[in-house]
């Protein structure tokens, strides 16, 4: 991996945004019309420029919470704010990267990265940034390639660049590395840290990989399912760059796993 030297960015002054989640409820209806409580009275304040992870068993509502922050979904009750402004609907200030890179297959790498600027009709003025971000994720030389020619890791880099070129205040990552092999995954985790440190964007990561959460995050939000709630928020006070073998790292990892396990047992006993 070629690590490009940090470059001065044209909007380097853009820092991360502050997310305020206040008393969020999200209730879905199942096919029989019965209520499914995906999230119940969730309160969360995410600091500007913070790297925060949401972990928990499947069905704990972590992805739902992320979708609410993107504005693609609306809460049944409660409100969400970015820097004090109420969130209603998607906005380029809140970038999104899925597990599936969801690149536009009809556009090549360059045009995919440029699509955010094109959609906002500012591509002409900011054309130079497209190459800058392709450089940032280390994909020079692949500008003309089409998504089906890329490996999973490369495609996810393109997705990352496509979200970042819009200078989002918050980047929402929904298991972005979930489909990658172990090596690419670790490489991409370091990339994420590097980009985050360089850009100062607020990062919100949904993952069920506890290692990943501990390796990347300032804080880890542990959630429990049915109804989805925040069980505990843990600070990760390990200095960066982090080592996966550091005793503190291992201790915290074990602690979180225990809590998740506990949550699972709790959940099972509920059914018995």
């Amino acid at each position: 991996m070629v690590n490009p030297a940090p470059k001065p960015y044209s909007e380097a002054d853009v820092n991360g945004g502050e997310i305020n989640v206040q008393g969020i409820n999200r209730i879905f209806k199942d096919t029989e019309g019965k209520d499914i409580v995906a999230l119940e009275s969730v309160d969360l304040k995410i600091n500007p420029g913070e790297f925060i992870s949401l972990v928990g068993p499947s069905g704990c509502g972590k992805s739902t919470l992320l979708r609410l922050i993107t504005g693609l979904d609306t809460p049944t009750g409660g409100e969400l704010y970015l820097d004090g402004d109420k969130i209603n609907g998607p906005h380029h200030e809140r970038g999104l990267v899925f597990q599936d890179p969801t690149l536009f297959p009809w556009l090549n790498v360059y045009d995919n990265v440029a699509s955010g600027l094109a959609a906002r009709k500012i591509l002409k003025e900011k054309k130079y940034e497209v190459s800058e971000y392709i450089h940032l994720v280390g994909l020079e030389g692949f500008e003309k390639s089409y998504p089906h020619q890329l490996s999973g890791g490369m495609a996810q880099r393109v997705a990352l660049a496509r979200a970042l070129v819009n200078h989002p205040k918050v980047l929402l990552l929904d298991e972005p590395l979930g489909a990658l092999d172990a090596f690419t995954r670790m490489q991409m985790q370091d990339e994420l840290v590097r980009i985050w440190q360089q850009r100062g964007t607020t990062m919100i990561l949904v993952t069920h990989d506890v290692d990943e959460a501990v390796y990347l995050s300032d804080r880890i939000v542990i959630m429990t399912p049915r109804p989805g709630k925040i069980q505990e928020i843990m600070n990760v006070s390990i200095g960066r760059p982090r080592s996966r073998n550091h005793p503190d790292f291992l201790r915290l990892r074990t602690k979180i796993l225990e809590k998740l396990h506990f949550a699972k047992e709790n959940n099972l006993s509920y059914y018995i």
Binding site: T70, D100, N108, A119
Partner: protein, 342 residues
């Protein structure tokens, strides 16, 4: 007896040692022999055509033998070039059997018609007669081609624009789907040619009546495939585009339409086929020009050689149009894997 057995033994014992390079050699020889086959076929064509007496009572011309000679010259030229250009050589080896078959077919045609008169006249003229009509009547055929193309282009353009518009509206909005959907379901399956009696009375000229018919024929498949293509675009594409700051116009024209293009193309292709059919039928029934009219007119005079000539022209033009459409598709769909081949 014993010496024979010894001989056999000897030959069998020798053969394994010989077999491998021998087979290899033979294979290469076989491959090259293929290249001579079209030549043999063409020369036999020529000899048979010039030497056998004619049974059909047409006056023969030099058109067919000239064509054969032209083929011969062209083939020889390509053959010589292929010894210097490697890709041409492999391509020629691949195509040689097919060319041979085509030339043999010409020979068969010549023999069963002109030479032996096995098939009744005037329905089955020989190749010389058909070629003669093609060259002698080229002006009228040319004008007919222009008339047909004008009708086809206008009808196809209007039909596909309307089809794309209706398809996008239906695929994008439930409301439009509610109102246009039933219309499409009822009107669409009616073959456009069934409207001929009505179209001919409603429209002031047979030209516009035919444009209407072709438009109708193209509109149905294009609308159908466009709307289902757009309705089936993965929602994730729209979600990502919205988080990138896309407005509705971008979502429709820069996300939905390109994502649906593989389906839209199938609609355009089906529409093209339908437009060919409708064009020829409406020219046969109402329009006083064009290739369909030409066929009808030639049949009226029992000049079947002209009918065949027109069929050849139609084949060449329609096939070229489909090729053109596929070329455009390959350009637009460069991002797609597994293209439909034409």
């Amino acid at each position: 007896m014993s010496s024979q057995a010894a001989n056999i033994e000897e030959s069998t014992s020798l053969s394994p040692a010989l077999s491998e390079p021998a087979i290899k050699n033979k294979k290469i020889l076989d491959k090259r022999i293929v290249l001579i086959l079209p030549l043999i076929a063409l020369i036999t064509d020529l000899i048979l055509h010039l030497s056998l007496p004619n049974k059909q009572s047409f006056t023969t011309t030099k058109v067919y033998p000239s064509l054969l000679k032209a083929f011969l010259a062209a083939y020889l030229l390509v053959l010589i070039l292929s010894f210097f250009i490697k890709p041409l050589f492999t391509k020629l080896i691949e195509r040689a059997p097919l060319l041979t078959a085509v030339f043999l077919f010409l020979e068969l045609w010549d023999i069963v018609t002109l030479k032996l008169k096995l098939l009744p006249l005037p329905y089955f003229p020989g190749p010389d007669k058909v070629l003669n009509s093609l060259t002698a009547d080229w002006q009228l055929l040319g004008v007919s081609v222009l008339y047909s193309l004008r009708l086809l282009v206008v009808g196809y353009a209007i039909g596909s624009i309307l089809g794309l518009t209706a398809g996008i509206l239906m695929g994008w909005s439930k409301k439009w789907n509610y109102w246009i959907g039933p219309l499409l379901k009822v009107i669409g399956p009616i073959p456009a040619t069934a409207w001929i009696p009505i179209a001919m009375t409603i429209f002031p000229t047979s030209f516009w009546a035919s444009v209407f018919l072709i438009t109708l024929a193209v509109w149905f498949p294009v609308t159908m495939m466009t709307s289902s293509g757009i309705a089936n675009v993965r929602n994730a594409f729209f979600e990502v585009a919205r988080t990138l700051g896309a407005d509705r116009k971008y979502l429709i024209f820069r996300v939905a339409v390109p994502a649906a293009f593989p389906m839209i193309f199938i609609g355009l292709f089906m529409g093209l086929g339908a437009s060919f059919l409708t064009l020829i039928v409406s020219e046969m029934l109402g329009v006083k020009a064009g290739l369909g009219w030409y066929i009808n007119w030639a049949q009226g005079w029992a000049e079947y050689s002209k009918v065949y000539a027109a069929l050849i022209v139609i084949g060449v033009i329609f096939s070229s149009l489909i090729t053109l459409l596929f070329k455009i598709k390959d350009r637009v769909l460069i991002w797609q894997r597994g293209l439909i081949k034409w």
